[in-house]
Symmetry: D2
Subunit: 400 residues, 4 copies
Amino acid sequence: MAPGKKGILERLNAGEVVIGDGGFVFALEKRGYVKAGPWTPEATVTHPEAVRQLHREFLRAGANVMQTFTFYASDDKLENRGNNLRLTGQQINEAACDLAREVANEGDALVAGGVCQTPSYLSCKSEVEVKAIFKKQIDVFVKKNVDFLIAEYFEHVEEAEWAVQVLKTTGKPIAACLCIGPEGDLNGVSPGDCAVKLVKAGAQIVGINCHFDPMTCVETVRLMKQGVERAGLRAHYMVQPLAYHTPDCNRQGFIDLPEFPFALEPRILTRWDMHKYAREAYNVGIRFIGGCCGFEPYHIRAVAEELASERGFLPPASEKHGLWGSGLEMHTKPWVRARSRREYWEKIRPASGRPKCPSLSTPESWGITKGHADLIQHKEATSAQEIQHLLEMQQKARTK
Amino acid sequence: MAPGKKGILERLNAGEVVIGDGGFVFALEKRGYVKAGPWTPEATVTHPEAVRQLHREFLRAGANVMQTFTFYASDDKLENRGNNLRLTGQQINEAACDLAREVANEGDALVAGGVCQTPSYLSCKSEVEVKAIFKKQIDVFVKKNVDFLIAEYFEHVEEAEWAVQVLKTTGKPIAACLCIGPEGDLNGVSPGDCAVKLVKAGAQIVGINCHFDPMTCVETVRLMKQGVERAGLRAHYMVQPLAYHTPDCNRQGFIDLPEFPFALEPRILTRWDMHKYAREAYNVGIRFIGGCCGFEPYHIRAVAEELASERGFLPPASEKHGLWGSGLEMHTKPWVRARSRREYWEKIRPASGRPKCPSLSTPESWGITKGHADLIQHKEATSAQEIQHLLEMQQKARTK
Amino acid sequence: MAPGKKGILERLNAGEVVIGDGGFVFALEKRGYVKAGPWTPEATVTHPEAVRQLHREFLRAGANVMQTFTFYASDDKLENRGNNLRLTGQQINEAACDLAREVANEGDALVAGGVCQTPSYLSCKSEVEVKAIFKKQIDVFVKKNVDFLIAEYFEHVEEAEWAVQVLKTTGKPIAACLCIGPEGDLNGVSPGDCAVKLVKAGAQIVGINCHFDPMTCVETVRLMKQGVERAGLRAHYMVQPLAYHTPDCNRQGFIDLPEFPFALEPRILTRWDMHKYAREAYNVGIRFIGGCCGFEPYHIRAVAEELASERGFLPPASEKHGLWGSGLEMHTKPWVRARSRREYWEKIRPASGRPKCPSLSTPESWGITKGHADLIQHKEATSAQEIQHLLEMQQKARTK
Amino acid sequence: MAPGKKGILERLNAGEVVIGDGGFVFALEKRGYVKAGPWTPEATVTHPEAVRQLHREFLRAGANVMQTFTFYASDDKLENRGNNLRLTGQQINEAACDLAREVANEGDALVAGGVCQTPSYLSCKSEVEVKAIFKKQIDVFVKKNVDFLIAEYFEHVEEAEWAVQVLKTTGKPIAACLCIGPEGDLNGVSPGDCAVKLVKAGAQIVGINCHFDPMTCVETVRLMKQGVERAGLRAHYMVQPLAYHTPDCNRQGFIDLPEFPFALEPRILTRWDMHKYAREAYNVGIRFIGGCCGFEPYHIRAVAEELASERGFLPPASEKHGLWGSGLEMHTKPWVRARSRREYWEKIRPASGRPKCPSLSTPESWGITKGHADLIQHKEATSAQEIQHLLEMQQKARTK
């Protein structure tokens, strides 16, 4: 940590609002540096300028946390199903730490090293094997001296507990996030019980990231908080939701929506939706508020603008944004100048422009969970025979 | 031009497909470097790294043209309604040329200097005054030796003709784009007649950019082509549409939609919509195919992927994109692997996730055109009294 | 005509508003007395009480015209494609006249005998053959002494002209309606030209019925009126549209919509939509205003209520309807009492309750018109082989 | 009961499917004989032919039960808020019994006398007072010797129990229906507990009517059945839902939807929706299956057609309906003939034709329940002052 910077727990203990960054995987996929499917972060090595620029944009938008771009950067994931990168997890993780630190030093931000769920767990590998994977990643974070650690994107609280237990050995502050909704994890453990398990495993900050829209995630964190308080425990809370509306999701989240991942555009939240999200998260008692897939810099800026009075300042990027649309006063067309005010944007119900499309989808529900043959991962590329089998499964699920 | 590179007319005369870049103003607004309202490109001076990175992403996505980020960089616009930038048009335009050239040299791209409509014309200044504004911008483009010139985003063909006449003095190839739909320009001149006027003024390439969705713009260029051919003239054709669905627009385009500019998200085109657009544009006979507001790098990549067989190669960014979703074969979840094919994505009708929103809007139609008092621009910031007057106009337009 | 009643032309010449009835075919299909597919009116013989009751409801709702329920009651239609009714056209037409007269006598209504397009015309029979069919129907209307005649539901103005020429021989007033939209008849004759032809053939009243929603039909009548006036002719105008919203229709009208005829429910107009329709029709100069398929008695009542001030009285059924929802003042729940006012209902944008459905459809466009083999009719039931052929046509039309 | 007819319990005990009738109040409102707001059934006296005809249509559609049109025919309701009818409850109830019996005798149907919730209960009158109201209605049903009794449309199970206790004194079979959803009655009593209370009070048949769409009502009856079975009791089950889609309802049901009661059209179920409903109700174990508000004769016919194989016969009205659209084989247009099959209609997702409307609404939630001042009823008409107060309440509820 740069001298003079307050640590994550110092900030949260002081009641400060900490703003997280947005979603790297989806943003860099759209910019041409991440491949949807494997979703691995080799761009830290191959295109560092693109990763650095995105870090800068989030910093400028108000983020206090530069999360290392190490999502899915575990060796078992990097080698999965023919994703032949010729790069080790260590190379990718180290480059990610350097980039995050470089940009964090340009402002008031901390570096958080991140780990997430593994194909090994899904493939029913043992606790020892799974923990070994986390250990390899942690070693880089210790070497690079990140400021704190985030274990995130876990669908099963059991695997998240294992991760926290490994992270705990570093002595660094730990945040732990599941990617579940109000119905609980994929084994049916409720949000409240999940949170208690994570706190007991050693996490000081618990919460939710990814898989559901902002309001659903905030509600889930509320249930986690309720569980922790009922158990007589204490924690800080965080939330980093999707920037997509997902009212039609089932327990598996947006992965199950037919639009995932290449037709989610109509679901993208506006900046005004983000104002509501930030206010609701704050009201529920969450103080570490950021974003995940779909969050672009302007979404994070909207969070920072909504909470500007609580934080006492605006983010740098607000110099290029009139609050609540006030910049439109400079528009050449008079009817656009007439939109330069909060009342206009707060009430807008934006049209989709797609009259032949529905407003909700039916999520696919294959009813497949950890342990099922189709979830076992392997290094070889998916075979044509496997794909044929999946198409039959898909057909079957639809006519159910 | 770098030695060995073919010029724009050489390419088009040879029947090559030239891919344009996407929308800088909207993309950089979301990244935090452009202010919506004035929409001016001072970031070329204040944040060159952000502009350079976006150029690189479009180059990597397949663009053959690096358009200088000089939209609205005329002195009368830079000083409009209190937009006090302390930067001259010359400074901004020069920096823009250097950035475009730097990135163009990294690949097979040309640099195009761009001018667009002026507040002066809207404020009923004389032909001499308006042409003087274009002349100042052109001087920079000549000094920096751009490869060709684009006059774009004109709502009145008359102003576009003036621009082309000024550009013509440079001896460089000229492309001219209006931002109109099939109904014609704001004075009611039909697309066919507009095109004839532009060709006669000296443009070798004519077409449409901005204001309407891809299919509407392609249809408008088709009408332009028809007009040119009926007049016994010859031209090349280009199109750089919005990446927003706008079936509910009237003649003024997306500016009139109540969602402009801060709630357009649900209208964003998917990459699959872009495949259809690229194919349609090609079939109509357009060979310079790019994008405008809303186009992100992955949209341009989709255009390049659709036309890969015609061009004979894929763009660099396709290394991070499985064609037609084939990268999903590497996804951990079997039901997502089942989506790794063209048939799935071609047929998708994506839900908005917003069941309380409509699918179409009613555009505002104030019925105000060039010459109306509310369209006269001034250097001072918009006054509270002016805003009050506009709110009354808005109210009146709605109850009409 | 009952002694003392004014005839249709007397009323229209005096500038009175004449209110038509609603749609018998669709209403009686829902009540269980008409078979969708053949759509023939044998209920006049088999279930007179049901037909009489519907006449009464329209009379009570304000209708001044009791149209004989003789739609498609020509012998060639009654015997088409296996529709073996064992009833002659004469029997059905006579019963229909008696029922209409009986109810007309209960109030201030006239009886109008109606004919419509024939399968014979569609099957390319000669003018002589087609006119003979109309003649058989007319003979009944003369015998039963109806007050005036309506030739309606013609897709080709040519057949309508033939009908008017036959009707003209009776000496009774004649109204002639096409079921076309602003694009014109199926041979491409414009609404204005169609109207001129009908007036020249002898119709004193011309207009539109069926196939399109109210606003589209009113617009088409406006074009007809324009045509008649430009030709220096004079006529009265009528409109009897669908009670379904059809913004997505092409030239063939609602027959082409995939929802026709068994899934049109979400498109049904509210009574408030009918107020707007009645006002618009009146403003355009139409004075014979009624309804066609989908119009239930409450829709006609809404037309009569909107025009109550012009007519000087409310219809009988308004005793069971508080104007603009004022009856809700007697509701037990306070939030429903709060809806008892015009402002509430005028502004409502009713939700579909179907979030997985789109708001617009793609009409089928087989591109088949009069003369095509699939439009030739026959007495035998449609064969399995014919159906198989049609499914292939359907498949082909969709992938076009 | 006509000699030779089996009683309701005999039928249900034998495992037969009993089909109920549809909704009189809404159907007769549209036909012009019932006033929305008071919703009282004085048409039995003033327009018996209209009531008789609707009975006949339901009988023809397959209904085995002619429910007396006595909804809200209690004296306290007939005199509520200025609804000055000059008719006693006794007169209306007697006329209703005669009409139901007359039509029941024309087919295989039973007569059911019906009572429903009272303004007195809502106004906090005593058990004695409320029971006295039921007693007056029952006296007519005994005198007219109806075949069985239905207590329906109760929002509070307590009032329903009181009704059942009064009905029990007649010795006739009793069915009891609440108008609640899965969340339970307005006091928060769960569906399972409600059902147990009703069975214990003496009802042999329990279930749900009105307020929610078919699938929601079936689900609620399933919960009731579960409750009864868990309590070790036995009962028969019935369901008579709305014919409107109500996915956006809260606990109060469709009354709270902004579209109630005059803009519900887009929510009307198709006949194909009814097939799904009938099958689902049957699968859940419900054997008395009918409809409430919005159910037209063709909806009941669809229920009877779906269950034709279980019942062994089709209803009379099916003579005018080709099963699954097969009547379309006789249509003149080939693309409509191509729709004459089950696969086509089962998969249809009907468009609303209203692209400027949403697909879901936000129900009004005033949070007002029994005992609140605004729910106290009175004989005088609602005053202007009361309406003003309500508009303020409405405004407040919306900005909550």
